[in-house]
Structures are given as C-alpha cells and as structure tokens.
Subunit: 196 residues, 4 copies
Amino acid sequence: MKTGRLEAFSDGVLAIIITIMVLELKVPHGAGLGDLAPLLPVFLSYVLSFVYLGIYWNNHHHMLHTCNRVTGSILWANLHLLFWLSLVPFVTGWMGENHFAALPSALYGGVLLMAALAYYLLQQLIIASQGPASVLRKAVGGDWKGKLSPLLYVLAILLAFRWTWAAQSLYVLVALLWLIPDRRIERALDAARAAR
Amino acid sequence: MKTGRLEAFSDGVLAIIITIMVLELKVPHGAGLGDLAPLLPVFLSYVLSFVYLGIYWNNHHHMLHTCNRVTGSILWANLHLLFWLSLVPFVTGWMGENHFAALPSALYGGVLLMAALAYYLLQQLIIASQGPASVLRKAVGGDWKGKLSPLLYVLAILLAFRWTWAAQSLYVLVALLWLIPDRRIERALDAARAAR
Amino acid sequence: MKTGRLEAFSDGVLAIIITIMVLELKVPHGAGLGDLAPLLPVFLSYVLSFVYLGIYWNNHHHMLHTCNRVTGSILWANLHLLFWLSLVPFVTGWMGENHFAALPSALYGGVLLMAALAYYLLQQLIIASQGPASVLRKAVGGDWKGKLSPLLYVLAILLAFRWTWAAQSLYVLVALLWLIPDRRIERALDAARAAR
Amino acid sequence: MKTGRLEAFSDGVLAIIITIMVLELKVPHGAGLGDLAPLLPVFLSYVLSFVYLGIYWNNHHHMLHTCNRVTGSILWANLHLLFWLSLVPFVTGWMGENHFAALPSALYGGVLLMAALAYYLLQQLIIASQGPASVLRKAVGGDWKGKLSPLLYVLAILLAFRWTWAAQSLYVLVALLWLIPDRRIERALDAARAAR
C-alpha cells in the first residue's frame, strides 16, 4: 500500500470529524439572544477541538510524509489514532452542553490522552519501519512536546475534579504549544535531501 | 507541504459542509402541503448558503492554484477560513427556522463577514509568500469585490435589526456579485504563462 | 480548472449524500420486530435512492471523462446538478416516513425531474464547449433515455395523486432503464481513439 | 473507468460511514457517571463496527489493487457492497441502544452476512475479469476466511435468539480472524512481479 492512500483516507476521516462536530451546535428554537447564550460553552469547546484536529491533521501529514512503506501494523496504528479522534465530537459536545462540568472535562482530557498515545505509537512504528537511518527519528529528536503533552493531559484530568478551569487552561496551553507548526520534520527532510 | 493536499482537504471539508447543511431541512411528520410550508424559509436559506459555498469553493480553488509554497501561516489561515465556513450550516438553519428574524439574520451576516475577512487574510498571506512578482497580486488587482463585500455585510448586519428584508437583499446581492466566476486570476495566470 | 478537481469534488458530495441518507433510517427504541416494521418503507425508499445516486455517480463520471475544458458555466451547471441531488435524502426520508403518500411521492419525482433536467443542461454545456467534433455528442447520440426519463417523471408526478403505486413503479422502471451502464460514451471514446 | 476513481469513491463512502457511526453515541444531558453508563453498550458496538469497517477498507483496497479493468458489473458489485456497509451504523446503533438484545444482534449479523456475500461476489467478478491467469485468484487461494465467515455469521444469527452472548462472541471472533491483514494478496502480487 502506498502512503498516498493512507493519507487520503486519514484526511477524509479528519475532514468529516472536524465538520460533523459542528452538528453538536444544535440550532435553538427561539430567535433571541437568550436562546443563543446557552450555546456559548458548546461553541468554545468547538473552537478548542477544531484547533486540536487542525494540529493533528497538520502533524499527521508531516509525519506520514516521511513514511515510504506502509506495513500492516502502521495501517492499524493509524486506524487506532483515527478511532480516538473520532470520539472528539462526542466529548466536545458533552463538555460543552454541561458547561465544562468536572466529569465531561476529565473525559475530554482522556480522549486527548488516548489520541496522543496513539499518535506516539504510530510515530514509533514508522521510525522502526525506517531502520537505523530513520528520517523521522532525526526529525522528532527529543520530542519534548510529544512527551510533555500526555503528562499535561493526565494532570488536567486529575485537576478537572477539583478546579475544572485549571483543566481547561491546560487543554488550551497544550493546543498553543502545538499550534506552532512542527518544522522539525520539514527541516530534517531538507537535511536528508541535502546530504544525498 | 504541497498545495494539492491543502486543496484536497479544503475540498473535502467544503463538500461535507455543503452537504450536511441539508440535514437542517428536517423531514416533517405529516404528508400534506401544510407540513411542507413551514420549511420554505429553511429551504430558501439553504439555497442562498449553497450558492455562497459554491462561490467560496470556486474562488478558493482558483486562488490556491497560484500558490506554490504552503507555509505554516498559509495553512492556519486556510483552517481559519474553513472554521468560519463550518458555521454556515448553523446560522443557515437558525435563520431559516426563525423565518428570517432580526438576530439570526444579523448573525448570518456576521459569519459571512468573518469568512470574507478570513479569505482576505489568506489571500494576503499567499501574495506575501510569492514576493514582489506575485501572480495572485496581479490577478486580484484592485479587488473591488473583496473590499466591497465586507462593507455590504456590515451594512446588512446593521439593517437586519430594522428592516430584515434589506439584510436578506444585500446577502443575495453580494452572492450575485460573486456568482460571475473570477476570471481575473485565470487571465493573470495565462498572461504569466505567455510572458515566459 | 482541470476536470480532475471537478470530478473529485462531485464525487465527494455524492459520497456524502449517499451516506447521510442512511441517517433517515432512525434507530428505533424498542428491540422487537414490531419496532422495525415501520421502517420498511423508509428502507425501501433508501434502496431506490441509493440506486439512483449510484446511476448518477456512474454516468456523471463517464460524461466528465469526455470533458477537457471546464468553463465557468460548466462549473455552475455541475453545482446546480449537485444541488438537486442534495435534496434526495430529504425527499427520500419524507416519502419513506409517510409510507409513500401522494404528495411526498410527487415531490420525490419533482426532485428527480429537476436533477434530470440539470444533468441534461450540464451535458449540453459540455457538448457546446467541445465544438462541432464533440465526442460527447456522438456518444450521447439520440439520447432516448435522457429524453424519456423526464417525461416519465412528469407522468409519475401526475399519477402520484391518484394511484401512488403507479408513480413508485415508474420510479423503479426509470432506475432499471439506467441501471444498464451507459456504454455509449465508452464506445464513442474508443472510436475516437481508434480514429486518431 | 480507472480503478483509482472506484477506490477514491469507495474510500470516501467508507470514511463517511466509519465517522457518522459515532453520531449514534448521543451526547447525554447530565454530566454524571450515571449519565454515561447507559452509553457503554453503544460504545462497545461502535468499537466492534469500527474494527469491521477498518478490515473492509484494508482488504477492499488490496483487492482493488489487483484489478486493472473496471467493468460495469464490477462497478455495481462494488456499490452493492457499499450499500450493505452503509447499513452498519444503523444496526450498530440499534444493537447498542438495546443492550445487545436478541433481534438487533441477529440483524447485525444479517448485515455482516450480506456484506460478506457482496464482498465475495465482487471478488469473483474481479477474478473472472482477469481471465485464467488471474492474480487475485492465486492470491485468494483456498480463501478459507472468506468461506468460513458467512458460516459463522449464520451460526451467530441463529444463536442470537437463544444465547445472545454467543452471537457477540462469534462477531468478535470473526473480526479477530480478519484483523491479521491479508498478506496473501501482497505475496501473490510480489510473486507475479518476480515472475516477470
């Protein structure tokens, strides 16, 4: 299987996830400002999740770009990642509708945590498939973002039950950390090309 | 990142937005003409939004066609545009279900305004990435449509609270302005090719 | 604009229409056979519409294959066709939920009729864009299917108010007419290739 | 028609099916653990169906990869397969919401059975189109998985009315059988390449 098809399928699934999430913004029956107000938390959680999915789409694409052989385990690790991301609309809607209550906020972090671990697993499998001269390994380097994020998610899950706003802040913080597009991989690819 | 993938992802998201919008046309329970009648405003707002999304798809495609290097900021400006467009089904449904009431009609204009600004921002970033000999800059030229549309949206938002029909008329007018496909870019591309 | 992108976008929209249609099959609350039974008409109308959309996807693809220059009017004629097809899930659900009542059955035919006319318009625009030696014109030939179908739809719409089953039968008949894939275009393309 | 377009359309439909399935996980109104608990069966059935659709996507892709000529019957056999797969979200939701009751569990097996038969039919048509030296025929070989699965589905459907858990176990068992990606086809393709 070529990487192109894995990318195309992942892109399709991500495009659909990002778009059906907006269906949780249920059209209110009244036409007043008071009818719109209760939707604000749902809207804010939608913005946050939109940014997260944008980050995943972006980094996922860069990562797959280094991959030139799709093995069976890479394929299933990729589906595993898409599975957790497919739960984002559900937890986004639950957190938003319940105005960032404790348990929904913790579960939101739980899904982000599982997606981060799934992403890490996929990354390791691609590195392993590339052998000792792995371009991706060099690109990822120390991978402090990839290692810090799960820890912050765990922290946020724990804090959610006590100070929910602290959990929310951590989710925003992690998103900001990643918003800066991952130029490491691009740079390593350029270096690999130059070395040839 | 190649432009092709940015286009493919944007196309996917636009195709889904345009299609899930029809889900706001809720199937009525009765089978009579009287059951269908209340859906007419929803249907009309659906037609309007369908045309708007068609225009965005068309012009977005022509614009991206001139872009040969996708930077991180172009990528996020594109996601920013898709974000505002993803809200179109929501405001379409809200405006339609409330029979073009004042606030929903104003919010509809608000989302169109944000999308127009996001489109303008994306356009400026692509022009900047192309340097002084930018093909897109030449193509866009004075860009009177791009500058007039946000003004008309602001006017429509203000008018919505007094004469809602005036806001609707302006939305239809702007759509008609843009319905004429943007041949400027095509012409500039042809000129650039001929000059080579 | 290349045909490839028009095809890809149309395919995306058609894939989504065909799939969200299944959302009209609402999951019943009970787990007995009696809970499933009322869904039978919805299911049957789903099967019919699935076949129709499959036919459109198939023939649309063959037609676009002959098109080598996408003009602004072809592009909008294509969006116009997609617009009418996007209403298929709505009329399918309405007809199914009301157990093939008169008005929903007539409206179903109305949407099919508009889609057929939109398809015909797109076909004529592509033929016109190809000039006197149009491959598509030769392929389409007398186009008896394309001319007969709208007439049968009109007949079905009229009959729906008197004998609804007659309208249903005509919809099934037209689907069967088209189910036989349109080899005319393929043959004409082969002939054009051989002549070169 | 080229295989590429058939693949792209099938991928699109599969990506949408896999993603809209998550919409059956309805966001609960309360924010407590007690509000989440009733969703567990829906979640479990979602996991099972996600794996099944992943398997279909994977094997379908490998199979189409061997196909170099898309005939009309292959095209419709493919749509026929997509039709049965499009019903997976419905039966998944019905089985999950009714906590794996007898009839929904049997119908789940019924849809899996029809999809398996549709897959088999498509496979036979591709083999027939390839003539006596069919790469796919060699790849599929004895096809014990393809022959065993329908039998296990029939068994599960029968058992569902007596011991529902036995039906569930069989569904999980068949999924595990197929989870091991189908390397037979890849191997046969390599052999065919080496022989050249």
